[in-house]
Every structure is written in structure tokens, then in C-alpha cells.
């Protein structure tokens, strides 16, 4: 399959843009039905224990209240945890909402009030009186370190590479040793749209659910399994998703609640979570990490050791790739990376933008920065000295790696050469200035995905795939691929996604959608090409008779012989006499041998400038340059936005975001957007994105690697390193807040001491 330059690679504006800027784009809570009732979730007030009794009389006395569902009156539900599993479930026993009276985490949904009016449901929910038998909840990770364990069932074995060499003896011999502990807190995704499901009860007993999800097929399967419904009785749609960042990978409990009530009441029910309840869903787990580096005097690494402890719940062993990067990235003969879990009385964590990578690379790249000062080698120079062309964990070649170009082009754009090596050596007026940098890495995946392409007699192309667009630009890039393949203008392509009735796709995550859904759409369109060539060859005085498919160019509405452009035919001519649309559907799978023989990563180099007004204690990220190598960029405009947004996420991770637990109650305290700080307009200044040229030859026919996650990896480390350079203070506990800077500040002889 050849791809030219008709649609791919152009910075076209989002095709869903007009719907989004006019308010026409409808999200999960914005679909309705004439018989719609409103559900409001009651959240557990305790973190651990058992419900002794539920008094719902006052709630039921509120006019308009239809029913209060809880474990003591729910319809029959499967007891097997297996039935509640999903494509992204962690090893363990998935949570069964309303199954019994056992409380596993604070905020656990314990009842659903359904009423004719939204406010009546909410008010009635406040009147539900629950008597709990409370047990002590353990939520402090620091107290559970000695109980940390290696999960027996691995989510992905390759995240736990075997040790190589003898790391401890190498570390004891090495002339330079860095051994530091880094901490990252619980973070919540907090997409702007809260989770919601509108379950529409169809008259024939079918259920149509508009859900906020990254995977309509995943939720469809979940509903069928939990409620024992035939596949054709349920349809899940997610045409627009107001952000997710991983929070919508697994079916969330509002989906269960809306379906339960709709089935139970035989009418349509909408359940929307409050912002507070968004903190009862999955989250980025807390990590405690120890990074040990041994190096020669010139900075060349000898040994790398990375141990991470992260929290999980009591019932699932959530795991993420935190330490694997430390073993893979830099050449050294001795490496041991280990990750362990500790159980807390919290809900199970879930993937959040670059799960594992964002926190693990913060630790590795912070330690590399500390090493640069220890050996007196510039941080950028240190990375270049430790550049590897192979995956150190597995000794495999890397399919493509233009990281060196990221370092060099990023440094040039940033003005890294102006950096003075000593901390506290750069200043402008009242502000201390710091320059920091870090490496980013994320795996380039491709997963099996199906797609359908339908060409109508009028030349309109419809692309269909069950995948989602959570702001990532899926609609637009799939349209571009379709336009490219058949030489059509973009506005002749219609994209249908986010619907379990469409050809199946895995959850939209892992930065794999462009490679996976993109390849599927490309292959489906290739099927159309074959059919069109057949038709073109049959046309009278056919200029394309006998021409090989590989020798065709599809551009500007024309099918053209590449080696002899005088032999061409308008696409419309090939469609003459066509009464029915031509359909091509494929199940597209990656070449497993390629994935086995090569390691496959996207890379980045991140450069950050911070400025600190020491008198006011105000710290800001003045500039970030993120230079990314991610193969072919399908749409530079939307891809740049992906990186911009991830860099903003990295700023949040470095300076703002932390969900604070009150261990006395096992409860997240700052469960709102005023106290859970995310970057706002005033926190975000210049961000410069560079896509370095990188030819990816084999991972997928498009040559793409995905850009959803790479932008956040390394960003927090680059900022933390810049803060050290500005201040001489190394905060190893994210987020870097003013109180931590002040507490660690060494007495100096300047005015700020």
C-alpha cells in the first residue's frame, strides 16, 4: 500500500471542530429520552467496614423519587468476579457495585436514588441514612513498605526484565554513586466532563447506552456479562468524550448504575457523577522509588538499579511500567529493576497518561541530573554519552530511534548552550532562572483492530471503527487516511466511531490508536482500491486495464498510473453505473514477528526553564521545548496539541497535582477542582513542540508511533531539574510546592536566606 501526500501529514483542522465550538457535539449526559429518570449515586462515608442497615424511608418520601437501589434490594447479579472483568482489568477480583454490604474504599457507591427530577434525586440521596460497622482503613503507603510484594500474576511480563550483570558489586566498585529516593503522589485524571451514562430503555427491551468511555466495545461486553444480556440487546455509544486520560479505559460504576436502574425500572435512566465522585474512580497510584546509578568519572553508566513500590487496592493488583525504562534506555552492563505493590484500602488505581512512564522516568531522569552534577558533566552531554542504539533490557534492536536528533534540535531551539553549570548562577532582576532537561520514552504499540470503509456511488467515503476520540484527533486522522487512500477531499469522508455496533476496536489508549485504527482504516480502504481497480479495468476503452495496484496513485479524485501518469481515470468514472455502495471490512493485526524482533519506542527530549521569585516564593515554568521522535506525524496541528497538552500535564505533575489522603478516615480530602490543583491559563507559558524527522519502517504501514503519551514523559523531571538548577534545592517529592522548597532551602548568604 502506498501513501502519497493527499491527506496525511497536513495540519488540517479537526473535522469535529464545528460541532465542538457550537455546542452541537453531544456528550454522554446530553442524550435524552421522553421517559428519562435521573439517578444519583450515594457514596460510602467510611473507607472500610460493612453496611449494617440502610434507612431509605426519608428518601422515598421525597415526591418524585421512584426507587432506591442498594445491595439489600438489588436485582439478581452474578457473584463471580470474572463476570465484572474487562479488557483493561488488573489481575485480581474486579469490584462488584452494589453486590453486598462490604465497604472496600471511601466513596464506594452504595446506593442509587432514581427520581423524576435531578434535584429531587440529589436531595433524596442526602436523606439516605446508612448505618455502618466501621473498621480501621489503612491508606498510608509509608506504613506498608515492609508488606510490599511482587504481584504473582503479571499484567505484562515484559515490564519486569530479568537482572543483567551483577548490579550490587558493580555499584560497590563504581567511582560515582547516586542513590536517591523519589516520591510521587496519588493523582486524579479529572477530565473536564464528569463520568456519565444515559441508558435509554428501548420499547423492545434493548438498551442503548451513551457512555463516557474510551472503549464502547469494552463497556458493551461488560454490560452483557454483568446483566446477562444478549449482545444484540445492548449498544454502547461514545461519540464525544470530554477527556479521559485513562480514566475511561475501564467501565466505571455509573455505567453499571444506569444500566441496573434502566433494566430494573424498564425506563431510561441517566447517572452523572459529581466532581467529588470523580475522586472515587481510578487514579495514578502513589509511588516510592529508589534509584541507584553507578558511573565512571566521565559519566558513563556502569550500573542502574531502580526499585518502585506503588499502591494498589485490596482486591486487584494494578501494575504499570514504572521501572522498565531504567533498564532499557541507557547502556550499562549491570541493571536490576524491580517493582512491588502494597495494598491499601483505596479503590484500584488505573492507567493515567503514560502510566508508569510518567513517574518512573521522573525518578530516572532526576537521578541522571543528580549524576551530572556529581561527575561534572553537562546533563545533555551525559545523555549523549550514554546513548544506546539497542534496548538494553532485551538486547534487541530498536525499530527506529531519532532521540539524538531530539536532544540536538531541542537544545538548539531552547538555547541550552546559554546554561551556566552551577545552580543559582542565572538570575534576571528578582528572579532566579533554572534550565533543566530530561529524556522521554514511551512504547509504540499496535493492537488488533477492525474497520470498515464504504464508498457510496456519489464518491462519499464512510469510515467506521468502534474506537474513540477523547480529544486525541481520531476523527480527523482517520478521515485523513481515508482521503489519502482514495485521493478524495477531506469533506468527502465521513467518520463514524465510538459505537459498539461498529467493527470492533480495543480501548482507545496506550498511544496505539493512530497505529492500530489507522492501519485498519488503511487496509479497509485498500480493499476498496482493489474493487475500484477491477471496475476501472472493466470500463470501455479502459486506460487502467491490466495495471498493477501497486503502480497506482490515488490523488485529486483521480486514479493514475504512477509509472505513466497519462493513463488515468477520474474516480467518478470508476463509480459509473454503481447502484450499491462498495464495502470493505478488515480485521487488521500487527506483524507479531516484527514486534518480537524489535523494540519499539517513541522518544523525546524535554527542556524546561523555570523562574523563581524568591521574595514571593512564586515558581513558574517560563518555557518548555519538547522535541519528539514519534515516526510519521499524520497531522502536525493535532499532534502538536497532543504534546502541548501532555506538557501541561507534566507541569501539573511537577508543580501542582496531588490528591491528599486523610489517613484517619482513609479519604481523599481535596476532592474538587479548587483544592486539587491543575494548571490553569496563568500557569502555562511558552511551549515549543518539535517533531524530528523519523522514518519508522516496519511497525505499521503508516509509519506512526502515537503521540498521546510521550509528551508527559520526562516533562516533570525536566522541570524538577530546572528547579534545582535555579535554586540549588532538590525536591524529590512531587509536586514541588513552595513549602517544600522553603523547608529544604540551605542557608545562603544572599538576601533570600
Amino acid at each position: 500500500m502506498s501513501v502519497g501526500t493527499n491527506g496525511i501529514g497536513k495540519p488540517v483542522s479537526r473535522i469535529d471542530g464545528p460541532a465542538k465550538v457550537t455546542g452541537r457535539a453531544k456528550y454522554a449526559a446530553e442524550f435524552s429520552a421522553p421517559d428519562l429518570a435521573y439517578g444519583f449515586v450515594v457514596s460510602s462515608a467510611v473507607a472500610k467496614g460493612r453496611i449494617k442497615s440502610i434507612d431509605r424511608s426519608a428518601a422515598l418520601a421525597v415526591p418524585g423519587v421512584i426507587e432506591v437501589f442498594a445491595h439489600d434490594n438489588r436485582p439478581s447479579l452474578p457473584s463471580s468476579h470474572e463476570k465484572y472483568t474487562d479488557q483493561v482489568a488488573a489481575p485480581g477480583s474486579p469490584f462488584r457495585p452494589l453486590y453486598d454490604g462490604e465497604i472496600l474504599f471511601s466513596g464506594q457507591p452504595v446506593a442509587l436514588v432514581v427520581a423524576e427530577e435531578l434535584e429531587a434525586a440529589r436531595f433524596a440521596a442526602s436523606l439516605i441514612d446508612i448505618n455502618y460497622e466501621t473498621q480501621e482503613a489503612v491508606t498510608d503507603l509509608d506504613t506498608q513498605i515492609d508488606k510490599a510484594f511482587e504481584p504473582p500474576e503479571k499484567r505484562a511480563p515484559e515490564w519486569n526484565p530479568s537482572p543483567r550483570g551483577d548490579v550490587d558489586s558493580a555499584l560497590s566498585r563504581g567511582p560515582n554513586l547516586i542513590r536517591k529516593e523519589y516520591r510521587t503522589p496519588v493523582e486524579h485524571h479529572n477530565p473536564m466532563e464528569t463520568f456519565a451514562s444515559t441508558a435509554v430503555w428501548e420499547n423492545d427491551g434493548r438498551l442503548t447506552v451513551y457512555d463516557k468511555t474510551q472503549g464502547a466495545p469494552n463497556c458493551h461486553e461488560y454490560l452483557c456479562n454483568v446483566f446477562g444480556l444478549a449482545k444484540e440487546k445492548v449498544r454502547v455509544l461514545s461519540p464525544y468524550v470530554g477527556g479521559a486520560f485513562g480514566a475511561g479505559l475501564r467501565p466505571n460504576y455509573q455505567l453499571f448504575m444506569a444500566a441496573l436502574a434502566a433494566i430494573g425500572l424498564k425506563r431510561s435512566v441517566r447517572v452523572t457523577l459529581t466532581r467529588q465522585q470523580m475522586f472515587t474512580l481510578g487514579y495514578r497510584p502513589q509511588t516510592l522509588q529508589t534509584l541507584t546509578l553507578g558511573a565512571e568519572n566521565d559519566g558513563r553508566l556502569v550500573a542502574v538499579k531502580h526499585d518502585a513500590i506503588a499502591n494498589t487496592s485490596r482486591f486487584e493488583d494494578y501494575q504499570e511500567p514504572t521501572v522498565v525504562w531504567s533498564g532499557a534506555l541507557y547502556p550499562c552492563d549491570h541493571s536490576t529493576v524491580t517493582s512491588r505493590l502494597a495494598r491499601l484500602d483505596l479503590f484500584t488505581p488505573c492507567d493515567m497518561r503514560a502510566p508508569g512512564g510518567a513517574v518512573g522516568m521522573y525518578a530516572l531522569e532526576s537521578a541522571m541530573d543528580e549524576l551530572s552534577y556529581a561527575v561534572g558533566v553537562d546533563p545533555l552531554e551525559l545523555r549523549l554519552k550514554n546513548y544506546s542504539e539497542t534496548d538494553q533490557n532485551y538486547g534487541k534492536p530498536i525499530s527506529s530511534k531519532a532521540l539524538r536528533d531530539c536532544y540536538l534540535q531541542g537544545a538548539e531551539r531552547f538555547g541550552w548552550s546559554k546554561r551556566r553549570p552551577e545552580p543559582r548562577s542565572m538570575r534576571e532582576a528578582r528572579e532566579l532562572i533554572g534550565y533543566g532537561m530530561a529524556t522521554g520514552i514511551w512504547e509504540a504499540f499496535r493492537v488488533p483492530t477492525s474497520a470498515r470503509a464504504i464508498l457510496a456511488p456519489d464518491g462519499t467515503l464512510e469510515i467506521a471503527c468502534a474506537t474513540a476520540d477523547i480529544g486525541t484527533g481520531t476523527y480527523t486522522i482517520l478521515a485523513q487516511i481515508g482521503a489519502e487512500m482514495l485521493g478524495l477531499p477531506l469533506d468527502k469522508v465521513i467518520v463514524k466511531i465510538g459505537d459498539s455496533d461498529l467493527p470492533s476496536a480495543p480501548v482507545e489508549g496506550g498511544s496505539w490508536t493512530a497505529a492500530s485504527a489507522g492501519s485498519a482504516v488503511m487496509e479497509a480502504c485498500d480493499g476498496l482500491r482493489k474493487e475500484l481497480l477491477k471496475r476501472a479495468g472493466a470500463v470501455s476503452n479502459a486506460p487502467l486495464r491490466g495495471v498493477d495496484l501497486a503502480d497506482l496513485t490515488w490523488v485529486d479524485g483521480e486514479i493514475r498510473m504512477t509509472s505513466d501518469p497519462s493513463r488515468a481515470m477520474p474516480l467518478s468514472e470508476a463509480l459509473l453505473g454503481l447502484n450499491e455502495p462498495i464495502t470493505s471490512e478488515v480485521s487488521s493485526t500487527p506483524d507479531e514477528r516484527v514486534l518480537q524482533d524489535y523494540s519499539h519506542y517513541a522518544h523525546s527530549a524535554v527542556f524546561a526553564e523555570v523562574r523563581l521569585d524568591e521574595e514571593l516564593g512564586m515558581l513558574r515554568v517560563a518555557r518548555v521545548v519538547s522535541a519528539v521522535a514519534a515516526g510519521r506525524i499524520l497531522n502536525p496541528k493535532t499532534a502538536r496539541s497532543q504534546i502541548l497538552g501532555a506538557v501541561v500535564g507534566g507541569i501539573g505533575m511537577a508543580l501542582h497535582e496531588e490528591t491528599v489522603i486523610d489517613h484517619r478516615y482513609g479519604r481523599f480530602m481535596n476532592h474538587n477542582l479548587a483544592e486539587y490543583h491543575v494548571p490553569v491559563h496563568a500557569d502555562v507559558h511558552a511551549i515549543d513542540v518539535i517533531f524530528v524527522d523519523e522514518q519508522e519502517p516496519r511497525l505499521n504501514p503508516l509509519g506512526v508511533k502515537g503521540v498521546g503519551e510521550i509528551g508527559i514523559v520526562g516533562t516533570a523531571a525536566a522541570i524538577a531539574n530546572a528547579v534545582f538548577h535555579a535554586t540549588g534545592v532538590r525536591v524529590r517529592d512531587l509536586p514541588i510546592t513552595i513549602d517544600k522548597l522553603l523547608a529544604l532551602r540551605q542557608p545562603t548568604n544572599n538576601h533570600a536566606a
Binding site: 457550537t22 455546542g23 415526591p63 502538536r640 497538552g645 479548587a674
Partner: protein, 173 residues
Amino acid sequence: MQGRPQATSHPPERSLLPKLEIAFRVNGVERRVALRPWTTLLDALREHLDLTGTKKGCDHGQCGACTVLINGRRVLSCLTLAVMKDGAEITTIEGLAQNGELHPLQTAFIAHDGFQCGYCTPGQICSAVGLIAEGRAKTSDEIRESMSGNICRCGCYPNILAAIEAVMQGSET
């Protein structure tokens, strides 16, 4: 609930406050609707007037997704009871385009890719319309400061700023 006295004296039935008839102009159209006094303007728009373009992100005035224009000023509709706005002139995202022509800010948001998931976008655009009308923010930093009540979790801030600055400079692209 643990630590709370057991409820013993619930009234047998809790009556809801009666609905009040209110009228306002929404996007140039006179709308009459009977609402209970506790219904927020946000819920009135979304649940009673089928204007779901205005978004609910927090319901507490912390995120800005619900920003609408009331008598030309940007207001958080989640912190506004609908009954307080009887007789007001309300403009939502659905009312910015005129005769099928997008508002310059809508065009600029598309051109500068000032959104990803699109959920904060109606609030960002309404807020930007209000900001330009206020006429106080001139520099990039002043715009950033004055737009900081509108959170974008996708992190589109640089592109939103570019879109607003383009419109302030008389261009959309």
C-alpha cells in the same frame, strides 16, 4: 451513618417547593419555563431548555465550563439560580453563531486548535467573548490571568491564547 445520630423523626413526606414561572431571552428567543427555585441556570439550560452546549464540569464554580453571557457579561451558570435571572438576556454557545456564520472566536478556536476533547470549549469561548467585551486584558499575561477561571484539562491553553489574541487583533486565523 457512623458518628451521626440515628434518624428518628423524618416527616412522612417532604414536599418540593412549587415551580415558578420565569421568562428570559436565551440566544435572542423568549423562553418561558416553570422551574423550582433551586434549579441552577446551568441545569435549566441543560435539562429544561435542551441547550446542552453549556457544560457541567464541577457544579461549584471551580472550572468555568458552564460560563455563559448574561446581559453581555460572563457568568458561571452553575452558581446562578435560574429564578434570579428572570427577564435577563442570556447568550450560550449555541447563540454565538449568527445566520449560520460562526462567531470569529469560534472560527479562531478551530483554526488554532484551541480544544481537544471540546468539553471546556463552550465555556472558554463564552469567557473569551466576555473578556474581549470587558476590554481590560491587553497583554498575553493579562489574557492568561483573566481566562484562568476556565480550566482546560487537555491543556490547550497556548492555542486558546493564540485564538483569542488573533481575534483581538482582528484576525481569525
